[in-house]
């Protein structure tokens, strides 16, 4: 078994978000390579390693990542730039069409400067409380404040909504893969820990192969990729849709649970089939301890096409290998919660900052997005998309297996809109030092 070098990996690549959490995402543009590298040099002391993952002191941290344009802006030599995988070199905006991010979710409608060549460095700052967040933000600011060639160009704040819920009202952040030797407990005891190379570069992956490693080795080893995107959620539309298809509040809640695969408390349908079980939902030892194939192969408890079963089919019979497409998801919520019971959109921007770490953008994020969210071929429903986060256009449907007769939800509109995103390379700490010492 390979053991990841936690001393060199950035904490943000592996560590679950603290509870509760407040976060800020800051994107910067580098106008002058030398100043960009100086910024990295100054920033290094503020970055935490992934060592001692259970240390209570490791609950607040800054993560630094670079886009491909950012690596160019730092003056990375052409040979090194060319050693990155094509998906990263092209970036999320260039691949939006194949990812299904078109129309309202298309790059032409993204929030500026997301998806533009101006986004070079991304800082993610997260903490259990505002005080420590402010301290970390000050450290980050201090690293660039007198550097005119380093300009902050975007900031997004995020914070935990009441009950650790995402804007649709569901307890989230429940399911995380364990990694061999990383020391972070598994949320599903029935899921074997993953090879390090699924998430960290320089190690063997689940295929017993090495992910493509950016060169030189000091640059790539112990790094990872993070996908970040701002997903606007249409909560009022979701509530109205459920209301229009239900004859009672109880039916509405069941339908919502069928769409998601969990009740709002986080209790999985696989374990709480008939009604919500808040105690189960709040119990981290039980709320993710389940598989599908033995108890629920046909999706009578948790629909085959529900959101969580698509995002992680576990042992369910699917075309392909579920273990090759796992990501470490570290998303956070932004914007105010739409007050309970409100069915009309209040115009507020609310949603999720989707954050996922992986070693292979194509095989993990892009595969999940194109094959599992945007289609249903892999479980036998080619025409269906993820009913919650898929690119539904108002004419889509979702099958809810049910005795004696299955139910179909029809005319599903889009509930999630991509406001923009980036593919980031998260270098190891030695890699950042190497970058900061480049002389080009």
């Amino acid at each position: 078994m390979e053991i990841p070098n936690l001393d060199e990996i950035q904490n943000g690549a592996l560590h679950p978000r603290p509870l509760p959490y407040v976060a800020a995402y800051i994107f910067l543009r580098i106008d002058e390579p030398r100043e960009g590298r100086e910024f990295l040099r100054r920033l290094l002391p503020a970055l935490a390693s992934a060592s001692h993952p259970t240390d209570p002191g490791k609950q607040a941290w800054v993560t630094a990542g670079l886009t491909f344009h950012g690596l160019k802006a730092m003056g990375l030599p052409q040979d090194s730039l060319a050693s990155f995988p094509q998906a990263f070199r092209e970036g999320m905006a260039a691949r939006a069409e194949q990812l299904g991010d078109v129309g309202e979710s298309g790059p032409e409608n993204w929030e500026s400067p997301l998806g533009s060549p101006d986004v070079h460095v991304a800082l993610s700052v997260i903490s259990p409380e505002m005080e420590r967040l402010e301290v970390l933000l000050q450290c980050a600011r201090a690293a660039y404040k007198d550097l005119t060639g380093v300009q902050p160009i975007w900031r997004q704040d995020a914070y935990m909504l009441p009950g650790e819920r995402e804007p649709f009202g569901f307890h989230d952040g429940i399911s995380h893969p364990a990694i061999e030797g990383a020391g972070i407990p598994n949320t599903n005891p029935q899921e074997a820990p993953f090879k390090v190379g699924e998430f960290i570069l320089g190690y063997r992956n689940e295929m017993n192969e090495f992910p493509q490693l950016p060169q030189p080795e000091v640059l790539g080893r112990n790094g990872t990729y993070i996908v970040i995107s701002k997903l606007h959620t249409r909560v009022a539309a979701f509530r109205k849709y459920l209301r229009s298809r239900s004859s009672s509040p109880a039916e509405e809640e069941l339908m919502a649970a069928k769409v998601v695969g969990r009740w709002r408390s986080g209790a999985p349908l696989a374990l709480a089939t008939e009604k919500d079980d808040p105690e189960l939902g709040a119990d981290p030892k039980r709320n993710n301890n389940f598989l599908y194939e033995t108890d629920d192969p046909r999706g009578l408890k948790c629909p085959l096409g529900s959101h969580i079963r698509r995002m992680g089919p576990r042992d369910a019979a699917i075309t392909g290998q579920a273990r090759l497409h796992r990501m470490i998801r570290r998303s956070t919520a932004y914007g105010p919660m739409l007050p309970e019971g409100v069915l009309e959109d209040d115009g507020a921007d609310r949603g999720i900052i989707f954050v996922a770490a992986m070693a292979n953008l194509e095989r993990q994020f892009e595969f999940v997005k194109t094959e599992w969210i945007n289609k249903g071929t892999f479980f036998g429903a080619p025409g269906e998309k993820d009913p919650l986060t898929g690119p539904n256009v108002g004419s889509d449907q979702f099958t809810i297996p049910k005795r004696p007769i299955r139910r179909k939800l029809t005319d599903i509109p889009p509930f999630v809109i991509n406001r923009g995103g980036e593919y980031l390379f998260i270098p190891s700490l030695p890699s950042l030092r190497w970058l900061s010492e480049l002389d080009t």
Binding site: Q212, T319, T377, G380
Partner: protein, 234 residues
């Protein structure tokens, strides 16, 4: 920490043993065990893998969800019989013959044809899904890649690949990409996925059982069942 893996590997896949397993979980367990036992056989790094400029992820024509793939190879002189033998073993393996495997691979059909006096080999397959995103899923383990290596070793274009030099998933991806010929026309009567075909098969079987019941006629006269009644005459 990593050590240089020994390159021993005359060990062949035990197809007979593999065929005893049933169901997805068993198959996965069995392949994982084999993966462990073979884990040192492949130490080819993808760390600095370079895809050739000619690599084109868009392979094959589609009808509905089904994609066609045609690969042309030359057979190494004197290897024709050995190749045929490996292909027959390939056919017999559990991975081509269980429902779990059918669903997992999404393969609709596959033909393996030697031609031109056994000097050339045509490998054709039709499968659900897209080729490029799913190729890793089709050769996820050393054991799977060894199965491919066992017949690839007899083909000129596969070079030195074989049981002692197992190709990586990227090697297989590039090799197949180089050897493919996209069809001029691809015609299929149906384009339902393997999942859908299993479901239709179950549905047909259930409907036949209903029709065999003496009370079926009366039951099927309910207006809601008219579409079924319309199909019940033959």
């Amino acid at each position: 920490m990593e050590t240089e893996a020994p390159r021993n590997t005359n060990e062949k896949i035990d197809y007979k043993n593999m065929s005893k397993v049933t169901g997805t979980t068993d198959l996965r367990d069995a392949t994982n065990k084999l993966r462990e036992s073979l884990s040192e056989k492949t130490d080819r790094a993808n760390k600095d893998y370079k895809f050739p400029d000619t690599y084109n992820p868009k392979m094959g024509l589609k009808v509905g969800n089904v994609t066609e793939l045609r690969l042309f190879f030359r057979v190494k002189p004197g290897h024709a019989e050995a190749l045929k033998q490996e292909l027959r073993k390939f056919k017999e393996s559990e991975e081509r013959n269980s429902k779990a495997a059918h669903l997992m691979t999404g393969i609709q059909d596959m033909t393996c044809t030697l031609f031109d006096n056994d000097t050339r080999y045509l490998h054709t397959t039709e499968f659900d899904t897209e080729w490029d995103p799913y190729i890793d899923d089709s050769v996820p383990t050393d054991k799977q890649r060894l199965i491919y290596a066992n017949w690839l070793q007899h083909l000129v274009e596969a070079g030195d690949f074989g049981p002692d030099n197992i190709p990586t998933a990227n090697d297989i991806k590039v090799l197949f990409n180089q050897q493919r010929e996209t069809a001029t026309v691809f015609i299929r009567t149906f384009s339902d996925t393997v999942f859908e075909q299993y479901r239709m098969h179950d549905l047909k079987k259930a409907f036949e059982e209903v029709l065999n019941d003496p009370n079926a006629e009366e039951a099927l006269h309910h207006p809601a069942l008219k579409p079924l009644l319309d199909l019940a005459a033959d």
